[in-house]
Symmetry: D3
Subunit: 65 residues, 6 copies
């Protein structure tokens, strides 16, 4: 029943999410010994004005990554 949740800034394409879902699922199945059907991957886009490090919103500082 692994549920994997990936929070990232917006901007990744559906193709990137599809590849991430595939690779992460493979890793979970292989390493944690489960089945693909029992493995879920959920993506959540977090806008930069909704995410802060060091007390500063990502929308208000120099982008680093």
């Amino acid at each position: 029943m692994p549920i994997v949740r990936v929070e990232m800034w917006p901007g990744r394409t559906e193709a990137q999410k599809a590849e991430l879902a595939r690779v992460i699922t493979d890793a979970v199945v292989t390493i944690a010994h489960t089945t693909p059907e029992a493995t879920f991957v959920i993506f959540e886009d977090i806008a930069k004005e909704n995410w802060a490090q060091g007390g500063v919103l990502a929308s208000q500082k120099k982008e680093k990554k």
Copy 2:
């Protein structure tokens, strides 16, 4: 203080969410012995391109449910 969080694909109407909130709250109050005022239900819509099972995005396979 029960907090119930429901993640579903988009497409449910506000009426469906209202009914779900009512029925889930009743269940929690009755079975877990709390009060309605202390019970919260939060809905989150997860787009199909943000949700994968078996390593495949729901937006890229045959819909099943």
Copy 3:
């Protein structure tokens, strides 16, 4: 694919969780038009010293519910 997450204070028995899972799943299936197999319910116990309302930990005030 509904995923329902229920956060409560500790103290509910496995029997209460089993009944909650059954009733919540029925509600989701009926109202949101999905299948039981696609519906997941996850419980998380939150200790009272890890939960505050009004700025006061539940472990440090009069219990209300």
Copy 4:
């Protein structure tokens, strides 16, 4: 590594979120003895039709706060 997640109804400005991120980070650094760089704050807006108390969606009752 503290990760702080703030769920609120929509309507707060980016300036309010920036101030909240700053003040919460200061509190976590000071009280929990970590560093600003290791402290993250994430905001999630929850629409009123996605949030219920007492079994009633916030979008369907008198606003209280």
Copy 5:
């Protein structure tokens, strides 16, 4: 209805959590214009063997903070 969730490594005392809950609630009430009673703070301890940065579990590298 703000719900604030704080994930940290274990080791903070109940007194630290109590102070954090109080200060964070004050900040949310003042900055986001809500009431103390409507503001919840939930703490979750994440063990170091359950938390990785840079692909390395915190339990397996030099502690930094």
Copy 6:
């Protein structure tokens, strides 16, 4: 800033979590174009009596995976 959260049943060793963290981080860095330092992986063990599919707790049915 990707934050990856992996919920699984208990029973995986720290070595399995370490390998999962490494492989998932590699995948996120490569596919989503971020840095290892900005990528976090958090594991949460969900006991079988806290997890239901089809309205039945995993602790109360035949194990399948």
